[in-house]
């Protein structure tokens, strides 16, 4: 979590330099979900994600250097610069891809699970999406098919109560999202997405259930996005959420909670944590250096690979 947070804080800081010239959606405040869920996955499990993908990518083990390079549009980026922040991929860790059409990758995750079934692989696949995603018909179609064939897929809905600046209550009736998944025949779970232990426990049970042939599982996790929908800044001045809401939301910081627990349990000392943070910061600095010293592609690099051989 700390690593994701520090990476995104660094991104936010550097964004103003106008060298990362692409839309960027930070997950600061929502890190516990990526981390808690991905901690229950093996390398061969497959992940698909959406526009807010940094956390998912890093938690699955995606290469930090190549992610930063991608944001800078360099040749060493994970898509060679073709994708930017909203199109991440790392085949080495089976992070198969994130794309920004809301709901668009959810059926792909189901398809990956179907492929695993057909090929007899014991791998599961995961779709990360937001509370807005469930409004897309395609997500319902995906749940229906997954439940029908009891496919090994985990749906993870990160409910941060907003789609851009529109609160949930202006988009959906007052009904829990996870109940919808139940109506589709999925086993569903829900909990506090700002508590990494809760997330981990739920995800572990859910992935275990999938491995035990209990069919697809759906997890709804409540969380809070700290910064603006798209871009590096806070956006309190827009007034689409009250100061009070923001304070409460940020008070539920998953990192603070986890740090407190760690210190209380004594698993790591303050010093150790600081050391960890220093290491992370060094890694991040190196990643930025890697990105900025990477080759700059030109238009000719954009021309090929439209069709596969």
């Amino acid at each position: 979590m700390l690593r994701i947070r520090r990476v995104e804080e660094a991104l936010a800081e550097k964004y103003a330099e106008q060298q990362m010239r692409c839309p960027m959606h930070l997950c600061i405040g929502q890190e516990a979900i990526s981390v808690g869920v991905c901690a229950t996955l093996t390398n061969q499990d497959v992940v698909f994600s959406n526009h807010r993908a940094h956390g998912h990518y890093l938690a699955k083990g995606g290469d930090l250097k190549r992610m930063i390079a991608e944001l800078y549009g360099r040749s060493t980026g994970c898509c060679g610069g073709r994708g930017g922040s909203m199109h991440l991929v790392d085949l080495d860790v089976n992070f198969l891809g994130s794309t920004p059409i809301v709901g668009g990758t959810v059926p792909l995750a189901v398809g990956a699970a179907w492929a695993a079934r057909l090929k007899g692989d014991d791998r599961l696949s995961v779709a990360f999406f937001g509370d807005g995603g469930v409004e897309e018909g395609v997500v319902h179609e995906s749940m229906n098919f997954a439940a029908l064939h009891r496919l090994p897929v985990l749906f993870v809905c990160e409910n941060n109560n907003f789609s851009v600046y529109t609160p949930l209550k202006e988009r959906q009736p007052n009904q829990p999202i996870y109940k919808m998944a139940e109506a589709h025949g999925l086993t569903s779970w829900h909990g506090d997405g700002n508590d990494v232990e809760t997330v981990f426990n739920i995800a572990r049970q859910a992935t275990q259930a999938i491995h035990n042939q209990q069919g697809p599982q759906f997890i709804e996790l409540s969380t809070y996005r700290w910064r603006e929908h798209c871009g590096p800044n806070f956006d309190n001045e827009l007034n689409y959420r009250t100061a009070e809401e923001i304070t409460t939301g940020m008070a539920a910081c998953p990192l603070a909670k986890s740090r407190k627990n760690i210190l209380a349990a004594g698993t790591q000392s303050m010093d150790q944590l600081q050391q960890l943070e220093n290491e992370i910061d060094r890694e991040i600095a190196a990643a930025f250096e890697f990105a900025l010293s990477s080759p700059i592609p030109t238009y000719t690099d954009a021309v090929g690979k439209v069709y596969a051989q």
Binding site: R82, G111, K305
Partner: protein, 362 residues
């Protein structure tokens, strides 16, 4: 090149079935999925017997969820499966445009070539017997405009088999457009598996008076005309485009260099159709060879009406092609020759069915 192995006559529908069967035999990763694929009607017979042979795992029905299921197939294709998806009408694929255009077409490109989407989507174009505004569209132009998709429309049973096998083996999303009126037409089809290139047009009738480049079912109409003309010593060149994207401009251009005249025939609306793209390319590349402006034989600017009375005149046919050839090539036929040709090409069936065996309802 025509395969040299043993051959017999098959209908276009049978050829598709055989292609599916042989592709599935060759590669256990090939699966067939679509509404009605394993049902008793087996998509006009094109999927008959597949479930029996390959089992319920690989021959799949699906919920009425065109966009979602297209996404499911894309996801499976990313993970080593080669899905063949079927829509009984191309009109239903409009529901899946997002997945086809935003994901299937772009995945290879946007992830820098790391992954590909080996997906075939069979799209059947309806016509006749009251196939109305929402069940008879020809939408090849929509897909052909999108880089990353291949859009093919074989016109013969021979090509249907060879191109379907090639499409399944291709690592890209291929939209395989089948015109319903081709399903029952026979052609010599080799027994063994073979591949037909997805990007080469074919001269199906050689000639030097005028070039007719046709797509899908319109090849049949053009061929009738060419054959009828041939009896009178008039050689019309008919090119089966086979593919709307990529478009084999070279083959058409060579022909136009010879004839100086071009007619393009398509099953879709003229405006904004692939006819316009082909004409534009020929103009761009062969302007000085053109003796007259190229013209189009395609649908007018309105949807298909359902009533067979109303539809009688909507679909251009061999007679329209004949008249256009006479006009553009300035052919003055004697009354007898004209009557003879018109007799040869005139439809004997009611205008709204492909053949007399067809008695509805779908």
């Amino acid at each position: 090149m025509r395969s040299e192995t043993a051959a017999r006559k098959l209908t276009y529908a049978q050829a598709i079935q055989e292609a599916l069967r042989q592709a599935m035999e060759a590669d256990p990763g090939v699966v067939v999925i679509g509404e009605g694929v394993p049902d008793p009607k087996a998509i006009f017979g094109t999927t008959a017997g597949l479930r029996e042979q390959f089992g319920a795992q690989r021959v799949f029905d699906m919920p009425l969820s065109e966009n979602g299921m297209t996404g499911v197939c894309i996801g499976a294709a990313l993970c080593g499966i080669r899905p063949v998806m079927v829509h009984q009408r191309i009109d239903f694929a409009l529901l899946a445009m997002d997945q086809l255009v935003n994901n299937a077409a772009k995945w290879h490109y946007m992830f820098n070539g790391l992954k590909s989407v080996p997906l075939v989507v069979r799209l059947i174009v309806g016509r006749g017997w009251g196939q109305g505004p929402q069940h008879s569209q020809s939408l090849q132009a929509l897909f052909a405009h999108i880089p990353g998709l291949k859009v093919i429309g074989p016109a013969t049973a021979y090509d249907a088999k060879g191109m379907l096998i090639a499409a399944i083996e291709d690592n890209n999303p291929v939209l395989f457009i089948e015109h319903r009126w081709l399903h029952n037409i026979n052609d010599v089809v080799p027994v063994d598996s073979y591949r037909t290139s997805l990007d080469k047009a074919r001269i199906v009738h050689a000639g030097n008076i005028v070039t007719i480049a046709a797509f899908s079912y319109m090849v049949m109409e053009a061929l009738h005309v060419a054959q009828a003309f041939a009896k009178h010593g008039i050689a019309v060149e008919v090119i089966d485009l086979r593919s709307a994207s990529p478009l084999d401009t070279d083959t058409v251009l060579s022909s136009v260099k010879k004839t100086g005249l071009l007619i393009v025939a398509d099953t879709a609306r003229a405006s904004g159709g692939i006819t316009a793209e082909l004409i534009t390319r020929i103009v761009e590349q062969g302007f000085d060879h053109l003796r007259k402006p190229p013209t189009r034989i395609a649908l007018p600017d309105h949807p298909a009406p359902t009533s067979h009375f109303l539809a009688n005149g909507y679909y251009p046919d061999a007679v329209n092609i004949f008249e256009e050839i006479c006009r553009i090539a300035d052919i003055k036929l004697g009354a007898d020759a004209r009557a003879q040709i018109l007799h040869d090409i005139r439809r004997i069936n009611p205008h709204d069915v492909p053949n007399l065996a067809f008695t509805g309802p779908f």
